[in-house]
Symmetry: C2
């Protein structure tokens, strides 16, 4: 039987899990793919670090870049992480030297995916990155193979387990953002520095990759990104009262000939399928023609789910299934118009925290009417101390720039006690 | 660029949709797969039938079996349907003559899949059947590729859109089975003869195929099958009161070294994800290691969703991605133990319709206790005419054979007015 020689570079939790998995499942994978996956080398920053795996000294490469030079190596699995530095050097060198590459590195692919895919295509090797987007959800292979027939209009979903865990725990346990975050860190659902999970950057990187695969376009940085750090318990409670959940969603949609890419907290109807996806789960929803709507959901992160994704990529290469990294040749990929969110229309949820005095409500509604934004629902609640009120307004669909203008105008008023809130609504 | 010559046999709704799709999307598919899909021949029972497509006379084969003999044909798409007769003849002859086969025929694959896959493997051609299971849900490709890393313990879900539409409409619109079925037929969601959709046979065929793919086993007929025809509005209302929905689910599970295959109406918690999947949608849930739980959902039927599946199979063949039809070589497929459902334990819902007289309730509970089945909840409701009562009992988990013994025993009692009901519960 044929054999494919593999180097695994990066031996953190994921690298070690993958190494163990490949050791244990070498023969069943060989049987399924008609080719033996043979881990010839491993490398990482520190050889002597304590790890859950043991390997023969001969397998260790003291210079990780040697993996790209050794003739006998066919495939390099990059698990270093980060869009620059060692990971970037390794993947560029590997593809240039005609090695297949499998990576879990969303930051690298979101930033250099176009350049890398050109080298891979020229050298007729695979560059696969299923593990970079929503670990255990086989979405990239589904887009490139299972749903290959479809013209896709829209891809959206829950792409960050940490944010989803925090929002759904705040909702279910009625706890504050801070409490829930601390708990998530204890449980290993949030990193000690959770910035990129909470500010939307992690979702943005995944969305760029999906967007490019769905629309056959090049990667594009025109993307509106907001995270969940300003969502508080009151927002979640008001959302519930109005029949909504708050979720951090990423969206890429083709409207006419324009693509809108956006990541932001979204009010989504209680009864919708996405509203019921709680905890660290991820879900990707595809609207395509002819297939209609497809939803794929599963665990988004962790060594086990990520290994499932890495093995699907490795298996594809074992079978000799050479494909374009972004589903289609680079010369066929399109330069599409990526538009600013300001031109897109939304219904929105506003929350104003104001001094309780005559004339405030009428002033606020005047600002809405001057901006030609029509109000669908309004709730006014006195706050506990009785000196201030919360005013919640749900609007009819309006251009995003008008919604933002309202927030800016009202935030300048002297009757405003706390920064006003604007959360977009998905009413589909 | 390379070219793959295709014959489409069977020109019903699906065949015509596929023909149109391939005409329109030939070049984009060629670009994605590096090979042109070229429809050289078509055939069907009646050439002169009115169809939505037009084709050159030269494309018509007056004897459909000629497609298997023509040297220039590489791939035959079988869309005749049925496990015997023309479809069977065509697929056997095609594989024997070293033609690739793509089919949407679940009955044929569930019955002859093992024999057919042996011929395909021997002749090194593809036999692909994504479209045979839950049309728009790319589950087979996910099992064979995206989730290839996983040892699967369980596959279950909603595999029949007609039944799911009927159950969810009875629930939402509070209408009778008969009313809802008539409406479904009007809307094209149920066939004029809906027997195989309603009696569970359609689900059973799909489940056998999935089971075989998940557990690397041969196809096996040991499967418990019940449909939805005995579910009435009262059951749905009682289920709601108790916090459940009723869904027709198919299950295949590996417990120890035994596989249980079963299709039956199931009470499933209101809050579970599956409970929220309504209408004609299908959903497949996979429990695997290392991936955890994966849910894939989409449209289960119709020419559009089915074409999406057919094209994914055709594309795989265009890319020259030769694979074993059931994911692994026939000599590696296992003979596993397929056990009777009687040995499996369930919680269950019982509904008894009895004459309202003293001693009945105590006699019923005695039967439960004699069979060592412990009762978790009991509801007794007088019926409108006051002469009879409904008694609803929810049990703790018990072997299926004990549950059935209770039904048999109580059905023989003179106080029973209508046949008693037993619906299994999924409490996971």
């Amino acid at each position: 039987m044929k054999k494919l020689n593999i180097a695994i570079i990066g031996l953190g939790n994921i690298g070690c899990y993958l190494y163990k998995y490949l050791n244990k499942n070498k023969f069943i994978l060989a049987k399924k793919n008609n080719c033996i996956p043979n881990v010839l080398y491993v490398s990482a920053r520190n050889r002597k670090k304590k790890r859950i795996i043991q390997f023969n000294k001969k397998k260790w490469l003291s210079n990780y870049l040697d993996a790209t030079k050794k003739k006998e190596i066919d495939l390099i699995v990059e698990l270093i992480g980060g869009s620059e530095g060692a990971a970037k050097k390794l993947v560029f060198a590997a593809l240039k030297n005609k090695k297949h590459v499998v990576t879990a590195n969303k930051a690298l692919i979101a930033k250099y995916g176009d350049q890398l895919s050109k080298i891979a295509e020229k050298n007729r090797v695979n560059l696969e990155f299923e593990a970079s987007v929503c670990g255990g959800v086989p979405i990239i292979r589904s887009l490139k193979e299972g749903l290959i027939a479809n013209k896709i209009n829209k891809v959206f979903g829950i792409f960050n387990g940490t944010s989803n865990y925090i929002l759904s725990s705040m909702d279910k346990e009625n706890k504050s953002f801070k409490e829930v975050l601390q708990n998530a860190q204890k449980l290993g659902y949030a990193e000690s520095n959770p910035t990129s999970d909470l500010n939307g950057e992690d979702v943005a990187a995944k969305l760029k990759i999906l967007s490019s695969l769905c629309f056959n376009s090049f990667l594009n940085d025109n993307i509106h990104v907001e995270g969940i750090k300003d969502i508080d318990k009151d927002d979640i409670n008001y959302a519930n009262r109005l029949g909504y959940k708050i979720k951090l969603l990423g969206y890429a949609e083709l409207i006419g000939k324009n693509i809108f890419q956006r990541v932001h907290p979204t009010l989504i109807r209680n009864s919708s399928n996405v509203a019921s996806i709680d905890g660290v789960l991820n879900a990707v929803i595809i609207d395509g023609n002819p297939v209609g709507q497809n939803i794929i959901q599963g665990e988004g992160a962790g060594p086990a789910a990520t290994t499932s994704a890495l093995i699907s990529d490795i298996s594809s290469i074992l079978r000799g299934n050479i494909k374009f990294p972004f589903s289609i040749s680079n010369k066929e990929r399109k330069k599409l118009n990526f538009k600013q969110i300001s031109e897109r229309s939304f219904s929105a949820y506003f929350r104003f925290n104001v001094i309780d005095k005559p004339g405030v409500l009428s002033n606020i509604t005047q600002v809405f009417s001057r901006n030609r934004v029509s109000i669908k629902r309004l709730v006014q609640d006195p706050n506990k101390n009785k000196r201030s009120s919360s005013i919640i307004i749900i609007t009819h669909p309006t251009k995003d720039k008008s919604l933002n203008k309202i927030i800016q105008t009202i935030n300048r008023k002297s009757y405003v006690k706390k920064r006003s809130k604007l959360i977009r609504i998905n009413d589909e």
